[in-house]
Subunit: 168 residues, 2 copies
DNA sequence: TTGGCTGCAAAGGCTTTGCACGCTC
DNA sequence: GAGCGTGCAAAGCCTTTGCAGCCAA
């Protein structure tokens, strides 16, 4: 009992979820898609498409940038990956560990990203939607500032410019 | 006393503020810059660089896209204009009327934008920063949903895709 | 007169797409 | 075998930049 056929390799929980998602859309579970998924869940934190592509190349694969973008799109739609900007004009991504939602605190000097979750903010957003008759579907809250290590270290002019350039 | 030279045309409060800003940086107050500023403050609400450029062209001017971008950058730095994304991958702008700050509620179906201000959210952000030792400099809160008119009207699949494509 | 400013066109950075071949189901 | 998936290269979109002439101060 509990015997697992040797031919069926053990897959991570993420891979299983991705497979279910793909099947539900009659899409295929390819080696490339699994490689992208594995690379994302192997390393923590935030990354962009270019970095992910580089990691996949380094790992020996021959996955194209196009496939990286196409797979990221599917992963976002499946809910396994979240897409953020963190103030940049290009997209940033992060593995959606579990179902917990969080927002981001970003240091304008060293780019460090801190995640936080405040139920009271979630509640306020519901109140705001209700006040305007909106049905809440999604939100994005990003706080920019200076982290403990950078407070007092950063050049004021540089920071001011960086704020002006934020894409939020 | 109090005499104003006739040769000096009356200027809007915004133009005066822009002039002060430019002088402080030893930059020049050109006709193009004034035209961009006037066009922005003539019409309300949110706009992107392309729309602004089109309006300026229609108005008879011959202002280049490059000048539009360069001037928007100066206006953002001066604080007269705010830059937002509203979920789009390109920049959106809005005239900063007075000093009041506000956040945005955006309809995923009809793209309507509602501005709101909640002091309690501002306070929470200060608390979050304090909790992590950050110095708060800037923030961005965007809530996406369906406006009263679009609730129940929108196709669920379309909305889901739109959420996945948001650049936030 | 002297920088800064402008339009133009080209270049840049990120992302998407057309196409012919390849692989999963 | 059918149809989705892939790599490649080209195209797209928005934005920035180099340059020669122009203009505000």
């Amino acid at each position: 009992m509990g015997h697992v056929p040797e031919s069926r390799k053990a897959r991570s929980a993420e891979a299983a979820r991705f497979e279910v998602f793909l099947r539900s859309r009659k899409l295929k579970l390819t080696g490339e898609r699994l490689a992208v998924l594995a690379s994302i869940f192997q390393r923590e934190s935030h990354f962009d498409a270019e970095t992910l592509h580089a990691h996949l190349r380094t790992a020996g694969g021959n996955i194209s940038r196009a496939t990286v973008y196409r797979t990221l799109d599917l992963l976002v739609q499946s809910g396994l990956v979240r897409k953020n900007s963190l103030g940049a004009s290009h997209a940033n991504y992060e593995a959606a560990q579990g179902d917990e939602h969080h927002d981001h605190l970003i240091c304008l000097n060293c780019s460090q990203v801190v995640e936080f979750y405040r139920p009271d903010i979630e509640n306020l957003q519901e109140q705001i939607c209700a006040a305007h008759g909106f049905k809440l579907i999604h939100h994005s809250l990003q706080i920019f500032g200076l982290c403990p290590g950078c407070t007092g270290q950063a050049d004021e002019g540089t920071i001011r410019n960086r704020v002006a350039q934020l894409h939020t």
